[in-house]
Amino acid sequence: MLARRVRAKVDGFKAMRGGIVVAVVVVAALIPQMTQNQYYLGVAFQAEMLMCLALGLNIVVGYAGMLDLGFAAFFAIGAYTTGILSTKEHWSIIASIVPGVVIAVVCALIIGFPTLRLRSDYLAVVTLGFGEIIQTIAINLNQTGGPTGIYAIPALTIGSVVVNSNTGYYYVFFVLVIAFALFSTRLRGSRLGRAWLCIREDEDAAKAMGINTNHYKLYAYVFGAVLGSITGSLYAPALTAISPASFGFSESLLIVMAVAIGGLGSIWGVMFGAAVVEVFPEVFRSFAQARLLVFGVLLVFLMIVRPRGLFPERAFQGAGTRIRALLGRTKIASPLLVAADAIVAPPTEDP
């Protein structure tokens, strides 16, 4: 009896959540129909791009719990590969995504392999350095156009459709955001995703459970790199010109902020965070210089008050949830697991 009522309530919640999701998607899809203001469309498109990047970084930071401070490097790799191949070798934009992804994966392996064996904070610094290296290379090589970068990148063509307006790219990135979000959701529930969550919550316990933590951490880093590179490849034709200035530490920092503000691991949180990070500075344009200061203060304050961000993924509360993550959807042990949750105190985050 009780069980049935609980189930009905859960189904109700699920239906409501589904309704909200559909409503948000429909409203977002209609934005270009509501305004023709190119400035708003530009901001909206930039927000979508940041969402894509944040969803990519979320796999590394939110799922696997590793801090990557050079994520813009993969974004740059995608953008530059597409930029160079499409202007100098006349590749189509779509085709140029593939070599971008390959280069990004190779770089991720080179950087990730030696670093991921160590404490996660080494990764933060090495990735930071990697970001700087990629930017330095972009500034100093002739092939990448030096400090001015690459311009006159041809438009994206899908079949016979040429995408060459803000509205067009808004929809391209709209599809990309949805694709990345679905991909992330599916990934999270997969064996890979569950392993990541275990590693994030307690690396030693994960190891004891037989998870090869080094391998899984490397996978997370590589997956992040792939999503970042794809976003970059589509970003290049959208802006038609790219320069090293767009791929510096401040860009990496914005992506980290999007993930950290929204909530580590939560897809909706991350997308919300990206929207805030993009729109907030536009709203406060008049304080041009002070806005990063305000941002920094907010970030520090947020980390003190809510270390996992505004809307974190439902936090793992205790041993039971941890074990549940390992087992997946098995129902057998659930009463035991609930008991385990109750006995093992949740990790206290605020004193």
Partner: protein, 303 residues
């Protein structure tokens, strides 16, 4: 060729003296909190600006400062920066002592943004390069075909003395023993009656003070400062700390010297614009072959 190499090594030792001082601060904080304090490079930057303002005020009407003016301003700035580091620890890191390392690092990055942009929006500091009010005279001595000024020599000596001082503090005094105890096991240290928060605060103070000293010497030597100067130096100092073995006092200094020399030779070959690539190349190679650093203790991972 050999003399050219010797010159680069000479420059490298000089550069390494700066790296070593900043690296010491990184290394000590890491040793005690296991936290990479991303804001550390920015302590150094803030110190440069504070010393700029104080020296500017003190030296009104003088064309060039006396060495003792620079000395006492330097000491004052060390105290101010140390205090700032301690204050920041108290305000930000202390409330977060139980938070996940990821949240701590994100807070540290936010903090670094706050310091950089805070300096950026402060009147009279701002976004442009500032010319430091004191410079070193060009007089000096020749070694090989390179000319070294007395100022450079003094900088290397002062850095060495400060590093030695820290070494003695940590290895020979009761306070140092307390630091090592806290670093080893915070709970056990608390049970032994050590005031853990005070010890951590003092470590931040020392780290900040060393960064302050490095900043004054940078200003005097290079003659210009800007609000982003802490970012690169912070990265390089961290690299130095890892090269030498993070958490290890001697390692930080050794790592600083080695990184200075490697970077000097590297930029001699590839050009100055590749400096940061050389530094990070060295870091990644080091992590491949000897992740604990040159002098790093083989720390067993606690289960």
């Amino acid at each position: 060729m050999v003399s050219l190499l010797l010159n680069e090594i000479g420059n490298g030792i000089f550069l390494g003296a700066f790296f070593g001082l900043v690296a010491l601060g990184y290394s000590m904080v890491y040793g005690i909190l296991r936290l990479i304090n991303f804001a550390h490079g920015d302590f150094y930057m803030v110190a440069a600006f504070v010393s700029y303002t104080i020296l500017g005020a003190v030296l009104v009407g003088h064309s060039r400062g006396q060495w003792w003016t620079v000395l006492w301003v330097g000491i004052l700035v060390m105290i101010i920066t140390g205090g700032l580091a301690m204050l920041i620890n108290q305000l930000v890191y202390r409330p977060m002592r139980r938070a996940a390392i990821l949240s701590l690092m994100i807070a540290a990055i936010g903090l670094s943004q706050v310091l950089e942009n805070g300096v950026l929006v402060t009147p009279n500091w701002g976004a442009t390069y500032l010319v430091y009010p004191v410079t070193t005279p060009a007089a000096g001595f020749n070694l090989g075909s390179n000319h070294y000024t007395w100022g450079q020599l003094i900088i290397v000596l002062v850095s060495g003395l400060l590093a030695l001082g820290v070494y003695f503090l940590v290895s020979r005094t009761l306070l140092g023993k307390a630091m090592r105890a806290v670093s080893e096991d915070r709970i056990a240290a608390t049970l032994m009656g050590i005031n853990v928060d005070l010890v951590i605060g003092i470590v931040f103070f020392i780290g900040g003070a060393l960064a302050g000293a490095a900043a004054v010497m940078t200003g005097v030597y290079y003659g210009q400062i800007d609000y982003l100067m802490g970012f690169t130096v912070g990265l390089e100092a961290f690299t130095a700390a890892v090269l030498g073995g993070i958490g290890n006092i001697g390692g930080a200094v050794l790592g600083g010297l080695i990184l200075g020399i490697v970077q000097s030779i590297g930029t001699g070959i590839f050009g100055a614009e590749w400096a940061i690539v050389v530094a990070f190349g060295a870091l990644v190679l080091m992590l491949w072959f000897r992740p604990t650093g040159l002098l790093g203790e083989r720390v067993a991972r606690r289960m």
